[in-house]
């Protein structure tokens, strides 16, 4: 069986409404077998809704989807036997130990007692939960819970894995651990669909990205393509005196040749740049003008800026409009 060219997840025109809220307004997705798709989007974009439909936990109002060739509504049982799902909020049984959580799932999947125990030990090891394995999950930290949840979704060796914001709330070490796990799973041929708020994460793990906004796909492509559309880096300057904001903006505009955006609330001037070459110029001009700054940095574009570049509006446009109105009054 060749895995290239085959589609593990295919969704066409998924629509889901909650009362008057449209969570998904006709979403198409296609994930080739053995690849990682990143779903990016701001709060409320519909990421979780899409994952729950593809994971058979929710029925779409219209549209359809197949996972591993099986229809998520009509053949939900078959879909469940090939997927693993780690939801946005950990769904572990808090009143049992981590080990027992994993053994229970193994038993439900039809493993013998010995097999289920062996699998639990293996996963506890892999997710660095051996020491806490026999403690009741109620006493776990948020990050430990998430790792246990992730381990739970891997008990059955799923060939297709959904991860809804798998690293939110994890410390950098644990985050690296999850990334490593995802990479190893992909090496073994697992198809992964993960949602995230972090461009960096999508960049590090995914083969392609779709960007959701208000229930629709607003962009898709390889991580590099999306970033190219968004401008490569961003230069931030934060004056010590809020009163200097206008003058700093003018200096940055002259030095870089692009008009910067001015964030009155956070006293921040930022501008997209292709590289760091304009930084010394900005530093010199500021020095000549005698303006003290508390921050001067070059960074990758934030998700919000990618958003702005891709969609023409920010994730929280209404809110920032209101702030600007307030500031100009």
């Amino acid at each position: 069986m060749t895995t290239t060219n085959q589609v593990a997840i295919e969704a066409v025109g998924l629509v889901k409404k909650y009362g008057s809220t449209t969570a998904l307004a006709g979403v198409d997705l296609s994930v080739p077998t053995g690849t990682v798709l990143g779903v990016l989007g701001p709060n409320g974009a519909g990421k979780t809704t899409a994952v729950r439909i593809l994971g058979t936990l929710l029925r779409p109002d219209s549209g359809h989807a197949t996972v591993g060739g099986y229809d998520v509504v009509r053949e939900a049982g078959k879909v469940r036997s090939i997927i693993g799902l780690t939801g946005q909020y950990a769904s572990v049984d808090e009143d049992m130990s981590g080990r027992r959580n994993l053994i229970m799932i193994g038993r439900l999947l039809g493993y013998s007692r010995t097999q289920a125990r062996a699998r639990a030990d293996e996963l506890l090891e892999r997710f660095e939960l051996v020491d806490a394995g026999d403690r009741i999950a109620k006493t776990y930290s948020g990050g430990m819970r998430r790792r246990l949840d992730l381990a739970s979704s891997l008990v059955g060796n799923p060939s297709i894995l959904y991860l809804d914001e798998p690293t939110t709330g994890l410390d950098p070490h644990a985050r690296n651990g999850v990334w490593e796990t995802v990479r190893n799973l992909v090496l073994d041929g697992t198809t992964v669909l993960l949602t995230t708020q972090y461009l960096e994460e999508a960049d590090a793990l995914t083969d392609s990205i779709v960007v959701f906004d208000k229930g629709s796909v607003v962009a898709n492509g390889r991580p590099a393509e999306l970033k190219a559309q968004a401008g490569k880096q961003s230069l931030d300057v934060r004056p010590a005196e809020p009163a200097h904001l206008e003058r700093v903006a003018a200096i940055v505009a002259e030095s870089v040749g692009t008009r910067p955006s001015v964030d009155v609330v956070n006293t921040l001037v930022s501008v997209p740049v292709t590289d760091g070459s304009s930084m010394p110029v900005v530093v010199r001009r500021l020095d000549e003008a005698g303006i003290a700054v508390t921050e001067l940095s070059l960074r990758l574009p934030s998700l919000d800026e990618v958003f702005l570049a891709l969609t023409g509006h920010t994730a929280e446009e209404k809110k920032s409009d209101a702030v600007l109105e307030g500031a100009s009054r």
Binding site: V7, T56, E94, M104, S153
Partner: protein
């Protein structure tokens, strides 16, 4: 592009897998009890405290000269009914909690029979009910209670009260599935349980109650279950109360099990 059809692992598609799945989930509920003994207070300490309170506080007054020893054969079968009936509401509260905490999302994403978690919950609670029955009977024996009508009949009485609990728990399963919060379920449960068990022949002879209460006691299933238990454990007329009790059990299951299963299907 062709679509790959991935084969589900063979070990997952055995016939009767749902039996083992239900047993695993029942085991889960028992493990939860073991790891969380404080959650057991309602089926362990509560019956003991109720027994001690009613026996020593009211015993002398109610048994008219017999003292608490004379009250015990009358009280214990009644208290058994009250304890078990109270324990049934835990089933609904537990289910509601599982949904709220997302545990059911995990079950639903697994290739298991849809009904297994529900059966597992009820089976696991059967263990809880059995435990409370045992705790109460052992306390009774320590205080001098005996099966005057034979051990066989006494044990049959314990079985019938357990079966009654398993019939009645469907009310709470249903409410646990349709109500929003566990606290709400608990609130309703107490509202129903107190009048139902205290407005009965459990603590005092029904003949001492005012007319309107007697009318209620005459139709309440609790009355007939209590009479059945007294007949089996201490002696007395059995046939009529037993038949009415069995009819109630069938009725409760016939009405509330389908309601509960429908609510369950709706949520899963």
């Amino acid at each position: 592009m062709s679509t790959a059809t991935l084969e589900p692992a063979a070990h997952r598609s055995r016939p009767f897998a749902w039996v083992q799945q239900s047993l695993t989930l029942a085991w889960r509920n028992i493990v939860r009890i073991r790891q969380n003994p404080e959650a057991l207070a309602d089926v362990t300490f509560q019956p003991i405290i109720f027994l001690a309170l009613f026996l020593f506080v009211f015993g002398g007054a109610i048994s008219q000269g017999g003292g608490w020893r004379g009250y015990l054969p009358q009280l214990l079968p009644g208290l058994l009914v009250q304890t078990v009936v109270f324990a049934t509401m835990g089933t609904g509260v537990g289910l509601n909690d599982d949904f709220a905490k997302g545990v059911f999302d995990r079950f639903r994403s697994l290739p298991i029979a849809r009904i297994s978690p529900l059966i597992g919950a009820v089976l696991g609670d059967a263990v809880r009910y059995s435990l409370s029955i045992t705790v109460l009977m052992v306390s009774g024996f320590v205080l001098g209670f005996r099966f005057d009508n034979g051990v066989g009949n006494g044990l049959l009485g314990m079985l019938i009260v357990l079966l009654f609990a398993l019939s009645m728990c469907w009310i709470w399963v249903w409410l646990g599935l349709v109500m929003k919060t566990a606290q709400g379920v608990q609130g309703i449960a107490f509202l129903v349980m107190f009048p139902l068990t205290f407005g009965s022949n459990i603590f005092v002879p029904a003949s001492t109650l005012p007319d309107f209460l007697q009318a209620f006691v005459k139709v309440s299933p609790i009355t007939y279950l209590v009479d059945t238990e007294r007949a089996l454990m201490s002696g007395g007329a059995l046939q009529k109360p037993l038949l009415i009790t069995l009819a109630w059990m069938v009725g409760l299951v016939a009405v509330f099990a389908p309601l509960a299963i429908r609510a369950y299907r709706r949520r899963t």
